[in-house]
Symmetry: C2
Subunit: 181 residues, 2 copies
Amino acid sequence: MNAVLKDFSVARPKPRTAPRANQRHDHVHCIAAALATASSLCAARGARLTKLRRRVLEHVWNSHVPVGAYELLNRLRADGRRAAPPTIYRALAFLADEGLIHRIETRNAYIGCDFADRPHQAQYFICEQCGVAAEVDASDIHRRIAARADELGFVVSGHNVEVLGICCLCQQRRVHVGSRA
Amino acid sequence: MNAVLKDFSVARPKPRTAPRANQRHDHVHCIAAALATASSLCAARGARLTKLRRRVLEHVWNSHVPVGAYELLNRLRADGRRAAPPTIYRALAFLADEGLIHRIETRNAYIGCDFADRPHQAQYFICEQCGVAAEVDASDIHRRIAARADELGFVVSGHNVEVLGICCLCQQRRVHVGSRA
DNA sequence: GTCAATTGTGTTATACCATAACAAAACTAA
DNA sequence: TTAGTTTTGTTATGGTATAACACAATTGAC
């Protein structure tokens, strides 16, 4: 699964050192892999990944920037399909129920899930410059949250963790801009 | 500061044991303390906590359940004031800028900040039954997030952590309901 | 105090996000 | 094929948020 090979979470063997040159992943393959995973998961579960739902999922996976429902609607219409808001929201609801996408609350937008094939409690690191949201399944973060919940006597059913900041690629870009100025 | 003495985060010396009987905090004092803190902070900063803003803050502090903008608008109108959405949103923007309230993203709602008088990176534990959101400033959670960000080469500017589940008081209530059934 | 500049509030209109309710079409299983 | 189920289309509406501009209040210099 190459799902984590997104714009700024490419495998980085040397944390704490300056990020390497802009190293884009093979996004065509990235989409294909996500779609294949979705197909097999739905098949295994008896969930119906219809053409519409599949197309919406493709549009969501178009980039690693969370996309709004109405933008997806426009893309469906650009496909030549007649569609109104409920069309897109129902598709999104299905995809979310199947764990194929997540909603980014701070953006009112949706993004493909990198870990659809296994249960997880994801966290997102969202770049305020380029908009890319990188999903991470950090069990240590979840454990800290669970421990704190325990202290409060709080039974956790889920969590939403969205970290905002500047991704490593945009930092490089900023340095470039700065050095030019 | 008694800010953390909210419905389900009352001082609990014995974590991991069953929560004690419903022990409500003095909410009148709770509001008064929050308003006093807000006043002194704004005075110190030269920020103008006008009557309108103060009143909105009072309404936000009316309970520990996050409240929507339009509900606040209705409460302002109940005060006899003429108000439209921009009125409330501008007040909310001011209060958020001053760190006096937070927005709960998963609810599109607003809640008073318990740690307005110091810099912090808060987390919220939100009860899906009673709606109460308890703010926690758990540095361990923030450290884990920061560490993971570091691995990604991501520079954090802020984070939004909202944990969903059932609070200890609602668990008690459920047990009671269950034993009666 | 008066004035000009700034800041805050009122008002209208509108944009964006999301869902309810019902009809039509497509699929599924006899 | 037919009945039952699920999915999609359609219309209408509700909930959240902001743009743009006018007016009012406050501030600070004089």
